[in-house]
Amino acid sequence: MNMAQVMDMDGIDINSDDDQYLTFILAGEEYGVDILRVQEIKGWDQVTQIPNTPDYVKGVINLRGTIVPIIDLRERFSLESIPYGATTVVIVLRVESDTGSRIMGIVVDAVSEVYNIAEVDLKAAPDFGQAISTDFVHGLSTVDEKMVIVLDIDHLLNSSVLSSLDKNIE
């Protein structure tokens, strides 16, 4: 059993101090999320729109009998939207909040890699002042000379964040 696991994990450096992050590409930048929160990765499929919600809430899908909301991360970050293509994927994540856990999907340009990043290697995002909110950035890390932005998805996809934005729209 243990052997098999080790075999499966072959190629990935197993180090207990490191957390594994799944990274994805969004407008040229690489973002990472805690891999343990990733439920599955699936291709973009038609959604059912939810009326009177922010634009970045694309709608809901049926994930084996559960209604899962889908959020377009480009629009959430106010990036220019691009048409969904062959590499566009939905990463289904488990989001923890005070009221319990919920399942949500995010639409990203493409999935990239799985990296091992030690907690100590994460640097706090610099303070940009009022200009840019960095609340949802858990930290920055450098992998192979590239910057990886590790997201705090609990904060990013928090329901109160969703509804407060909602109020702004109203």
């Binding site: 059912t48 939810i50 009326p51 009177n52 809901v60 049926n62 209604i67």
Partner: protein
């Protein structure tokens, strides 16, 4: 190897609450003076199992309390004591106390020990005899005998001959004798005469018998009680020993009687406190019930329902393997066979679904059962004579619906008792029978359950309601409302016409809460009333919260589900009937009403090629008492849909009550009609105010 009995604790609580309910029902049905021995037996059995169970789980407070109650019941069962109204009332309050104790223990909350002691003492007092003059008069000899039995020391000889198979029933004579030892001093003689030769001895059989001499302050009932579990597995004789010290004993009895008498006076003094103690308790009970209703808990399911399910799953598996086989070696000439198989599969799936739903269904009697008590308590409190008639209590509905409908029902019943039914004098004056009738009725109608609460009281006073409504500014002077509309006003928030705020009702938070609760369940409540004849409140509820009868509608490319219960009619739009006010709000003239038109595509920002009213359909819906017309592109079909929550993974969206998954796997949103109506009104207000601001 100890068994962890705590796992059975929940079951014990559940069974005890059931037992208490049974006791309550039977107590209410008891006719003082002419009690049915079968009912007393039922009550006794319930009390006995609670006592046994609580003893096993070490809940000694409950066990001790029940023991006294049980002793009292036992005397009634043996005909040694008359069933008086006083005794019944005392037992009812004991049931309350027990219920509180058990729920407090279950939630590890504090016990109201003062109240427990009060009722406990009252029970003890009643047991001791003379707190009840009538009983003493009617059965003086019995009382006297009781007095002797309970008063002083008495000697008993118990001959206990267990049958051979005693051990197989899980009983152990050692335990029984030890229990006797706890009660009083014992001298036990063992009889080894039936013990076989050693080589013939079967160690699993009991060959011994005992003669036990008891000496102490105990009664026959107490002794019998110890042997209650083995009654059927032994020969048992309990004899009182007439000792040469009889005279002395009688003397001591006399002194004991004096002690008892003095205790009585203390008890009597305590009793005067009781009304105060019981009054808040009456209020406490519904609250406790509410807490219990909030728990998800477990359901008891009849074995027949489970068997039916297993059968059905069996069928399903057979069909599935048949289809599987068919699929493995499929040729076109077997299409017919495949279609038959699919039809079968559909049928089995539907049956399975229906049966699974049926598991959650409970007869409404679970909810109705609390009303005899409520009516009993309230009618004596209000000095009214009220007869409760219950029918259709076998009507089944979903457990969650039932839990949530309990409180609104209680409220309506209280309301009918308090405001509806007049005092006996008033009734006689009106030429009506002195006793008012409150009837509860439940039946199925279509996919709904209908609950009716009817009283033959004064009916609603339209004038008074209208006056109050004017005062509160709910209606305007000069509004000419038909009677139904006036009666409907009582469901408005903050509306109560009770001249005096009473303990029973009249805080003005009532009817609107009832309506809201019923609405939350997807139902409706309405009232019909006739002055002097009475009122009927009708609650209409869906049978289950999990499935909804829906109408699918199309707007643009989107499909929405409209609950069938909110739809009044759907019609082709006749442009002659469309009017618009100041270019903004659109109205549709339907017969004599003007309905606001809600354009769903505008409200939901859905793209559609169809913007002209003339090309679409108007679906007339009712929500929150307001009618409106929803403009949709097309009606698709009706089907039952399984309601899925949007909130669990997302959040509540105004105008939507949930989502469902259609046959093709896509998600369709379920419209929340009352929410939609208010959403469109807010929109209207907002646009109107911006217009005003611009002007």
């Amino acid at each position: 190897m100890g068994i962890d009995i705590s796992q059975f604790l929940d079951t014990f609580y559940e069974e005890s609450f059931e037992g208490l309910d049974t006791m309550e029902t039977e107590l209410l049905a008891l006719n003082p003076g002419a009690a049915d021995s079968e009912s007393i037996n039922t009550i006794f059995r319930a009390a006995h199992s609670i006592k046994g169970g609580s003893g096993t789980f070490g809940l000694n407070a409950v066990a001790d309390f029940t023991h006294v109650l049980e002793t009292l019941l036992d005397e009634m069962r043996d005909g040694k004591r008359d069933v008086t109204q006083q005794a019944v009332d005392l037992m009812l309050s004991s049931v309350d106390v027990l219920r509180e104790m058990l729920s407090a223990l279950r939630e590890s909350a504090d016990l109201d020990s003062e109240r427990i002691t009060t009722v406990h003492d009252q029970l003890e007092a009643m047991l001791k005899g003379g707190d009840d003059g009538k009983a003493a008069e009617t059965a003086p000899t019995d009382e006297a005998v009781d007095g002797v039995e309970q008063g002083g020391n008495s000697k008993w000889t118990v001959v206990f001959k267990p049958f051979n198979g005693l051990y197989r029933t899980g009983n152990d004579p050692v335990r029984i004798i030890r229990e006797l030892d706890d009660l009083c001093s014992i001298v036990s003689e063992i009889d080894l005469s039936t013990l076989p030769e050693f080589d013939l001895l079967d160690p699993e059989e009991c060959h011994l018998s005992w003669t036990i001499h008891l000496d102490g302050d105990i009664t026959e009932a107490q002794i019998k009680d110890v042997f209650a579990w083995v009654e059927d597995d032994c020969e048992l004789t309990v004899e009182k020993v007439s000792s040469p010290h009889a005279d002395v004993e009688n003397d001591s009895d006399a002194s004991a009687a004096v002690v008892a008498a003095s205790e009585e006076t203390i008890d009597a003094a305590k009793e005067t406190e009781t009304p105060a103690a019981t009054a808040p308790a009456v209020k406490k009970t519904p609250a406790a019930k509410k807490a219990a209703a909030g728990e998800s808990g477990s359901i008891r399911v009849g074995i027949d329902k489970v068997d039916a399910l297993i059968n059905m799953v069996g069928e399903l598996v057979i069909t599935q393997s048949m289809l599987n086989q068919l699929g493995e070696e499929f040729t076109m000439d077997r299409v017919q066979r495949l279609q038959e198989g699919l039809v079968e599969l559909e049928q089995h799936t539907r049956e399975l679904q229906e049966n699974v739903m049926r598991i959650r269904m409970l007869p409404i009697s679970f909810s109705f059962n609390r009303f005899p008590r409520l009516v009993h308590d309230l009618s004596s409190k209000l000095n009214k004579k009220i007869e409760l008639k219950v029918s259709g209590e076998q009507t089944e509905l979903d457990k969650t619906v039932m839990e949530k409908i309990g409180d609104p029902l209680v409220h309506l019943v209280r309301n009918s008792l308090d405001h509806g039914i007049e005092s006996p004098e008033e009734r006689v004056k009106q030429g009506k029978p002195e006793t008012g009738v409150l009837s509860l009725n439940a039946y199925h109608q279509g996919g709904n359950i209908v609950i009716e609460i009817t009283d033959d009281g004064a009916g609603l006073n339209a004038e008074k309601i209208l006056k109050k409504a004017l005062e509160k500014g709910i209606v305007k002077e000069g509004d000419n409302l038909p009677p139904e509309k006036i009666y409907d006003l009582i469901f408005q928030p903050g509306f109560s016409t009770a001249e005096q705020v009473s303990d029973v009702s009249g805080r003005g938070v009532g009817m609107d809460v009832v309506r809201r609760n019923v609405k939350d369940l997807g139902g409706a409540v309405e009232v019909i009333s006739e002055p002097g004849v009475g009122s009927t409140f009708t609650i209409r509820l869906p049978l289950t919260l999990a499935i909804l009868d829906g109408q699918l509608v199309r707007v643009g490319d989107e499909t929405y589900v409209v609950p069938l219960i909110s739809i009044i009619e759907s019609l082709q739009i006749n442009m002659d009937n469309v009017n618009s006010i100041a270019g903004g709000a659109e109205l549709y003239k339907l017969r004599n009403d003007y309905l606001p038109i809600i354009r769903l595509h505008e409200l939901f920002c859905v793209e559609t090629e169809n913007h002209e009213l003339s090309g679409g359909l108007l679906m007339v819906v009712e929500g929150d008492g307001h009618q409106a017309g929803i403009f949709v592109d097309d009606l698709l079909g009706q089907q039952q849909v399984v309601i899925k929550s949007l909130e669990s993974n997302f959040k509540k969206v105004e105008g939507l009550s949930g989502a469902t998954i259609l046959g093709d796997g896509t998600v369709a949103l379920i419209l929340d009609i009352p929410g939609l109506v208010s959403l469109s009104r807010h929109r209207g207000d907002a646009s109107a105010s911006t217009q005003a601001a611009v002007a």
